[in-house]
Symmetry: C2
Subunit: 266 residues, 2 copies
Amino acid sequence: GPRRIALMNQKGGVGKTTTTVNIAAAIAELGTPVLLVDLDPQAHASLHLGVDDSSEATSVYDILLDPTEIFDAPIEVKPNLWLLRSETDLAAAETELSQETDRYARLREALEAVEDRFGFVLLDCPPSLGLLTLNGLNAAQEVLIPMQAQFLALQGVGKLLETVQLVSQQLNPDLRVSGIVLCMFDGQTTHAQEVVADLEAYLESQRETETPWRGAKLYQPPIRRNIKLAECPSFGQTIFEYAPWAPGAADYRRIAEALLAEHGGA
Amino acid sequence: GPRRIALMNQKGGVGKTTTTVNIAAAIAELGTPVLLVDLDPQAHASLHLGVDDSSEATSVYDILLDPTEIFDAPIEVKPNLWLLRSETDLAAAETELSQETDRYARLREALEAVEDRFGFVLLDCPPSLGLLTLNGLNAAQEVLIPMQAQFLALQGVGKLLETVQLVSQQLNPDLRVSGIVLCMFDGQTTHAQEVVADLEAYLESQRETETPWRGAKLYQPPIRRNIKLAECPSFGQTIFEYAPWAPGAADYRRIAEALLAEHGGA
Ligand SMILES: Nc1ncnc2c1ncn2[C@@H]1O[C@H](COP(=O)(O)OP(=O)(O)OP(=O)(O)O)[C@@H](O)[C@H]1O
Ligand SMILES: Nc1ncnc2c1ncn2[C@@H]1O[C@H](COP(=O)(O)OP(=O)(O)OP(=O)(O)O)[C@@H](O)[C@H]1O
Ligand SMILES: [Mg+2]
Ligand SMILES: [Mg+2]
């Protein structure tokens, strides 16, 4: 089956969507079919790829209510790049499913029925640790954590890993944290370098543990801040269509290559 | 009574906390007592001011469960700068209060009992439109929207204003949107300039309406990206303590002066 990777971080605006879209696009460009699952009611990944609420395609919301609707849900938005879109109504899912005993397993159930069409499934999670992110973590085998090399960003990592631990203990024992992708990186500052050093020391200290993040690494290179990455969503384009020679394109291409070079995941 | 201003934006990582802390600090430095209410379970404003979960002080969580606990809750963290701290347990409030008929009014009720001690009350909202933000909007008379001059940021503004409209219709008819504070601004790029032009055109188009944002403006100056603003939280300091000559300090001081120059709010 495909590698199934949840991109999560409960902190907002750290680069989850930008990272999911552009890693997916880079892998698709290299010829491997990729499914991007947009799990955020804000639907920014869908918007980024030119798909909004007016789309007729079955959405993640429909899938959570009825997993059997999955079969014609993915839409091919770019060559080899398929999207299971989100929509604003997805915000209602948490309340609507709150009494269902299988509410954390519905996405996994749906994806199992179609995943063999793809080499990668990338799940863009919302900035929270609620039902949608938990469905994403339960449907994945790996976790990538996009984050910024800043003090306040470090504060949230403990809670994030606690959630991964809970999911691996109670729902999904195969779940592993593959690593961290540093976004909007400003390597010039000592602040960023100190945060990187803190992260590397922490990951090193966890190597001999039994935790899901014992194999986690800092992916190289960090993604530099590059305005082109913020501009291309307004044209419904990935960075590779909009500015293929920009630093943002080079950085995400190298992260995608680092992922592809791994054998079967962390 | 004081000016009560909610700083809100459901999009994460846009600069709400940085803006609330540093505007509060600037006003406090000028001699006006300010109360900063940290409404985010992430408690980044509290952390920024050196107060974490180990603090014994009454928190916003305690206040939502029992508004009469407000009287000794605010702590003076810097001269004239008072904090009603958050804590991680605040994440439970939404569930715990979900059946209470007055659950959107508890913060307002508590603050009314102490607000005359202050010239300003600034409320730092979490990145969501749930119970905590709704308490913040109901307890305020004004809304400031920190946001980034980027395409994906524009997408969320409609939903944000819809929420303000709902609160003003159903809970708090005095609520007005005073305006927008642009954060992490990179004025060099045409992208940012286009977003600013879009925002100005939109605000202009709303002048003759009956909406709560008919008087909203773009505050000047935009806050430039400045690494010092991201560094000072790790020392429990405001920008004025950490780097008083930095561009970030100058920009937030000017925003505070713009606010102080207004008479009794929007
Ligand atoms: N390397 C970068 N350089 C410049 N801008 C970037 C970069 N990465 C992301 N951005 C911009 O920063 C903003 C936040 O990024 P993004 O939407 O990917 O974060 P997110 O974690 O998915 O946010 P949310 O928590 O709201 O889902 C967007 O406007 C995006 O275009
Ligand atoms: N002008 C700026 N220049 C550089 N860094 C900034 C600036 N403003 C904010 N930051 C940094 O960006 C990150 C996000 O800012 P902040 O925490 O204020 O956003 P927020 O909207 O409160 O986030 P959340 O939605 O999580 O509450 C923080 O690490 C902060 O230090
Ligand atoms: Mg996102
Ligand atoms: Mg904040």
